[in-house]
């Protein structure tokens, strides 16, 4: 079995609890923002559902590289760019929750850490990077950069969480370097989907 999400037994108890608290705080904040900005329209729920389903299936498709690792999409940047940070966080958390509870993909004690990395860091970094860059460069380039940085920093966050758990710098190094390489694929997929959505006239609705 390959380990994509953090399983049980990989985190120290204080780190597991702290990451659960932080991601729970972000989820509560997201729900508050969604309610106060009245983001949850019928149309947005359809986009939320389609995107969550798409991310779930995309994560089941991994292209293995012989002797190495695999190329696959996490989708956090895509969720943040298409739906904005708050619905993006909710969408990714929904996927991670289903993966954890139904398929044991990611440990139950590591759910907070997994949501923090892929549901919060990946979404916020992807969204912020895209928003800044889209004014300066073409959508495709902004999407590539957002996807790459999103995966790199999500992986780095996971490395920091593991490193703090066991007092070792090694996970930070391994996770950040590997994800910076794998992030190229995340970037290309993110950039392609975003520029396709722009071409077919789907507007990205942030507010």
């Amino acid at each position: 079995m390959h380990i994509v999400h953090i399983p049980d037994g990989f985190l120290s108890l204080p780190v597991a609890l702290l990451s659960l608290l932080i991601s729970a705080a972000f989820l509560v904040l997201s729900v508050i923002k969604v309610r106060s900005k009245k983001l949850l329209t019928s149309e947005k729920v359809s986009i939320l559902t389609s995107l969550s389903a798409g991310v779930f299936i995309a994560q089941m498709i991994a292209w293995p590289i012989p002797g190495g690792t695999s190329l696959h999409l996490v989708g956090g940047a895509l969720a943040g760019i298409i739906m904005g940070p708050w619905l993006g966080i909710i969408s990714m958390s929904l996927v991670l929750l289903v993966q954890c509870l139904i398929f044991h993909d990611g440990g139950i004690t590591a759910l907070g850490a997994n949501i923090l990395c892929m549901g919060v860091v990946a979404v916020l970094v992807g969204y912020a990077t895209y928003r800044v860059l889209t004014r300066l460069v073409p959508n495709f380039v902004a999407g590539i950069t957002a996807g790459w940085l999103s995966l790199t920093l999500a992986g780095t966050a996971c490395g920091i969480i593991l490193g703090v758990s066991w007092g070792s710098a090694l996970p930070i190094y391994v996770m950040s370097v590997w994800h910076a390489i794998l992030g190229v694929v995340e970037g290309v997929i993110t950039g392609s989907v975003i520029s396709y959505l722009h071409r077919v006239g789907s507007i990205l609705r942030w507010e």
């Binding site: 329209t41 929904l94 996970p171 391994v174």
Partner: protein, 93 residues
């Protein structure tokens, strides 16, 4: 809710998924960055389980079919949650 086009795309990807997730993964013995960290630090996954669908397998089905059925179950749950949100929480301005 979900457009027909999206749904058909999802179904196609669902049926393609075991070629990657089961067949090619077994063929190449692939591992993730997290596997490398686990090896280096000697981390071992804790042995307790709460679901019959662990690792996208379905009891009684071969890995290949189990992966597709698991994917369908996951999709159905996510879409059902979408409907639930739509009926309980939607604000229509």
């Amino acid at each position: 809710m979900i457009s027909r086009k999206t749904f058909i795309t999802l179904l196609i990807l669902l049926f393609l998924s075991p070629f990657f997730g089961v067949y090619l993964a077994d063929l190449t013995g692939y591992h993730e960055p997290l596997d490398i960290v686990a090896e280096e630090l000697g981390l071992i996954e804790a042995e307790f389980n709460w679901t019959p669908l662990k690792d996208y397998k379905f009891p009684g089905l071969p890995d290949f079919a189990g992966y597709v059925v698991s994917g369908a179950v996951g999709l159905a749950i996510i879409i059902a949650i979408g409907y639930l949100i739509k009926h309980l929480a939607v604000v229509n301005p």
